[in-house]
Subunit: 451 residues, 2 copies
């Protein structure tokens, strides 16, 4: 077990321990990482970043891992590697389970830390609106593990269809349902469309991947509700050109391993992907403060918790409304700016100055549908098509962490663009053991049913 004393005494011997403040950052996403960077190398500050993953994930490109266009490591970099040059930052891979605001203490599975300042930036997870049992049949897309699981399911469906001789079965295997018409749902649907129409087209003999049926289901009256209607219409047309059926005002009432129900309509599908809702991380509830319906924590103008000037909340977990009609959306730029702002406020407080209220610089929003197809909206400025896609491309490369990853992703994309190929069409099994305790008892006899 790690005692807090152990930590403080460890990292600060050259900085005058008595003066040093210990900042604990929970979460190594955009908010936590940028907060840590803002505090890196500063005198009299010790930082501990704690995350249950060892990597910072560039979430905006996670759908490309799920769709076999990028490898996991191309968008995930070890947090400790990104922060290695700041000698006042310690990174721990551990899962925080509880908070003690009165005692200024963070409790994790394997250690416990005392803080002077706390930054909570542990984000959101996907939500099934009370139907968590749907997850097995319809994975969401928030982690590398989920992305590779989705990749496995999509590619395995094509493989099983190639093997099958039952037309009913083939139809079901080649039906892909994506629930949720936000940017992630649109990107997933567009990518399956592209993959089936271009990448896989020549690789199969018994099926025609181009005939894959892709259905994007949205409960609201239109997809991409945060964008202007004209852009959503454009995106719908682009999706339809890639063979995606867009079903709006359709609500999923049941999900199982063989498909889903939309009221009285039944869709038989082997693959269902969930991009419909999010919910704040569990840890937020430990604060015992009222949250918004998504579980997000309301924050003061300076991004701190009400009554706790030493506790900050940032990123998707924060509910920030000051001077706005709607709370700030759960986007990477919001998290990034909030993380930096909190670092600045902590430095100000440490210097005896007053913290400053957060000001968000809106850089607009983007969504991509496929090769050369994207939409962009910045205030009243709107764009679509190749122009918007090039902006999407350069923004994402610019923000990608680490020079090497930028270079490699750019090359992967250049390669894919000209070859219509996807570099990571790998089906990785969940089981690594060969000599597992229950060996091959479930081998189906020839003659049994496929998949």
């Amino acid at each position: 077990m790690i005692s807090e004393a152990g930590f403080s005494s460890k990292c600060c011997h050259d900085q005058g321990q008595g003066l040093s403040k210990h900042v604990v950052v929970v979460g190594g996403g955009f908010a936590g990482l940028n907060a840590a960077k803002g505090l890196g190398g500063k005198p009299n500050i010790l930082v501990t970043v704690i995350d249950r993953c060892n990597h910072h994930l560039f979430q905006p490109l996670l759908y490309q891992v799920a769709m076999a266009a990028l490898s996991p490591a191309e968008i995930a970099v070890p947090i400790r590697h990104i922060l290695a040059r700041y000698r006042n930052i310690t990174v721990l891979q551990d899962e925080v389970c509880d908070l003690d605001l009165a005692g200024h203490r963070v409790m994790a599975r394997n250690c416990s830390l005392v803080y002077d300042y706390l930054i909570l930036a542990c984000g959101v997870r996907h939500s099934y609106f009370g139907h968590e049992e749907w997850e097995e049949a319809a994975p969401g897309l928030k982690t590398i593990e989920q992305a590779t699981e989705i990749r496995r399911r999509v590619l395995t469906a094509f493989e099983a269809a190639e093997r099958s001789r039952d037309p009913e079965q083939v139809r079901k295997l080649l039906t892909f349902v994506i629930v949720g018409g936000g940017p992630t749902g649109v990107e997933l649907a567009g990518a399956i469309g592209e993959m089936s129409r271009f990448t896989l087209a020549r690789d199969f003999r018994n099926i025609n991947p181009k005939l894959a049926r892709i259905i994007l289901i949205e409960a609201g009256p239109r997809i991409l509700s945060t964008f202007a209607e004209v852009l959503a219409v454009k995106a719908t047309r682009d999706l339809e050109n890639l063979g995606v059926q867009v079903w709006t005002s359709s609500k999923v009432s049941r999900v199982d391993n063989n498909g889903c129900d939309l009221g009285t309509t039944r869709v038989e599908a082997a693959t269902i992907l969930w991009a419909a809702g999010v919910q704040a991380a569990e840890l937020g509830r430990k604060l015992a403060v009222p949250t918004d319906p998504l579980g997000r924590i309301p924050v003061e103008p300076c991004l701190n918790l009400k009554g706790h000037p030493e506790v900050f909340v940032a990123g998707d977990l924060a509910h920030f409304t000051h001077g706005r009609a709607k709370p700030l959306p759960g986007l990477a730029p919001v998290a990034l700016q909030q993380g930096r702002w909190i670092a600045r406020n902590i430095l100000r407080k440490n210097a005896g100055e007053k913290p400053l209220p957060f000001h968000y610089l809106d850089k607009g929003q983007l969504a991509t549908i496929g090769r050369g197809r994207a939409i962009i909206q910045l205030g009243r400025l709107r764009g679509s098509g190749l122009f918007a896609w090039l902006i999407w491309l350069s923004t994402h490369i610019y923000y990608l962490v680490g020079f090497k990853n930028r270079l490699f992703v750019t090359m992967q994309w250049a390669w894919s663009f000209f070859s219509f190929n996807r570099g990571a069409r790998l089906i990785v099994n969940k089981e690594w053991r060969f000599y597992r305790p229950t060996p091959a008892a479930d081998i189906r006899q020839p003659g049994g049913k496929g998949l």
Copy 2:
């Protein structure tokens, strides 16, 4: 279920069905892939390649995936993609469970195929010499799944050591045991040495990764027994320079989750890797012919099974001795040449000519220890150091499948060489579900023991 008729009629309508011979290739490794390529596009030949993985794996570089230097997709390419341009080849992802030589039939989990020619090239798996229960504690390295499991264990050990305050625990976490002093064991040990001394050195605050203890255990009197002694000595010195302890004439008598026993000597280690033995694939036993002690199938000079001129065995599964003191080793060049040779022999038989006895062109053997350190042996020619390493490098890039992969691996290596970095230090969990049926019941309370 797929009937054999279904397959034959499917792929050959433009080739004159009556004349076409159906070749079934079991296994998409070096042997199977090259046999299929050799038959690709040939008239009156239909080929079905069947493999339980969707990818061809460039096994010689698998240790680099285990050691976080390459991403899985960089050395694994979908078999159907490699063979897509040959319209007479069908690829199926399925697991062959039985063979009926008399009925010329291959039975897989989801289909059954009738062949005119059969090529068995399903390779070997790692073996624990009757102690299969050791696998859980000491994974072997034959598949992508195993490589990512090893990567997870090695990186997790460093993370847990960084968290731990118990010196005993830290020592155990930073002890890495590799069992087996063949090329794979040497490559794994060298790579852990390099990773701890260079890549990870600056990234931790509470531990010094350079102090990691790496032990390479070999039962025989020296490592790399297939190489000349002078080269093995050189490799031993190179390993020791990277901090690896080489223990020869040491036999592992017990493996558990906390370490291993070598007779009366106990080594406490959190990570044990198995590179000690191989055993032919299970399927070989279905042939009901006498095998060698490793389970490999003796083949005739033309690479066919005795008494079955239509059944060929190639690659690691084949035991080929004709005109040699020892059987051909389980190396990629052997498998590759045998695959090509079988394709040629099938084409000869189809043309009414006599098959030719296999002739192996020995291109020598190579093993690498780390940056700029390798050994090479070709007959009486021997080399080591940077020169051998450059040959190792260019050979591996040359044989890597697919132009894009060659390019990307070259770039990854160039990057790693100059930056001492590793591009894929990603810990991926086995569980992808968030809302799993048994949620977080095992969360250890703060105060519980680490790892």
